[in-house]
């Protein structure tokens, strides 16, 4: 596990992925066209946090979100109805 989390491993072998360590992310070169991603990594990204730690399974919320949005997208429900459905669903899971 130590080797897989080393700078050398990410620099020489697992080059297509980004290490989950702030110090190594800062060392990893981002080409000019990818600078937006570097900013997003450092200034604009959060973990799933309470989504993953709470009692509601992410997969269930993920599916219900798409179902509620989809129902509104195709006119089966109003946006308000679809939104309330989603909020109630997650509230019940929690």
């Amino acid at each position: 596990m130590q080797w897989l989390n080393s700078w050398e491993f990410f620099e020489k072998y697992n080059t297509g992925w980004y290490p989950a360590q702030k110090a190594l992310l800062a060392r990893k070169p981002f080409p000019a066209e990818m600078e937006g991603f570097q900013k997003q990594f450092t200034d604009g990204a959060r973990s799933w946090g309470p989504y993953a730690l709470g009692p509601a399974a992410i997969a269930n919320m993920w599916n219900q979100t798409s179902r509620s949005f989809g129902a509104a997208f195709i006119g089966e429900k109003t946006s308000e109805e679809a939104a309330q459905e989603l909020v109630d669903y997650v509230d019940n899971l929690l």
């Binding site: 989950a20 360590q21 702030k22 900013k39 997003q40 997969a59 939104a83 909020v87 509230d91």
Partner: protein, 328 residues
Amino acid sequence: MLATALLGAGALGALWTGAARADTELTFRYLLDNVDEIQAGLDQFEADNPGITVTMERMSFKDARDQFIRETATGAGPDLQHSAFVWIKDLGTAGACLPLNDIIAAEGIGEVGFEDFVATDLVYGDDRETIHGVPYATDTWAMVYNTDVMAEAGIEAVPETWDDLLEASRKVKEIGKIGFGFAAGTSAANSIWFLANFNWWSDGGSLVVDDGKGGYEVGITADQVAGVIDYYKTYLDEDLTIPGSLGISAWDDPAILEPMLSGEQLAALLPVTTARSMIAQWRERNPGEELPFTTAMTPHGSGKPTTHLGGQSMCINANTEHLEETGS
């Protein structure tokens, strides 16, 4: 299991950096496709640690979590398990992953230490103290813009807000091209989940929040949710996104990437690996030409741009008999 159970706190200091035992066979279960690169790294590890051999097992992400829980319940499973960020709590709660607090305290982890890792809030158990795994690799999403389309539509700067992105898409439609291309379909691995959350988070809402009392609650109103539904619905109703958006769900669907590559679409919101792959593909098709892409943080509402840190973690099998070597 026996070896782990016999290890007292006093022995932990030599676990990860001590000399490896001879003739140890480890198994590492890896879930992604870049096996050649990972195998090369494991070969280097074996060369640096004579006497340890590592066998890489493959399994799809879809099956790996449940399989690992089943195996560890019977004392089996690989020594080191590759995992999604969001599985670690469940794996730890199921007793599949070895608690790492004492080991990390004694030996450290990573280049700088445990606190330097991202998304560490996801590796704790229900007690919010026991560490069941270590984040390994991360990814996130950001915007990719086609600068040729921007220029053609008279868009001088990348959109800062969600409203800016909508207006830019309307300008692009005026020149007969696609604005913000996204997948609005509803299959199990849909994209709209990410688009919804990025929009909510950048505007002060969150579907789930910590209630401050040891539990969790909904952190967004139905009105806020409806506003974001309406936002994306506008793209569909005004034909500002890809044709057939409702019929596709994957963020890397060719229906999204091809118009970006061919200069027919303004923008896409993509994971970093997809963006890199798309840009590499453009370079293959257009050798020597100037790249027509720029990337930027996601648009925002009343707050700051926010996407999620996705990624992969590692967990040591609670049954391993080779803790020293697995941790090294």
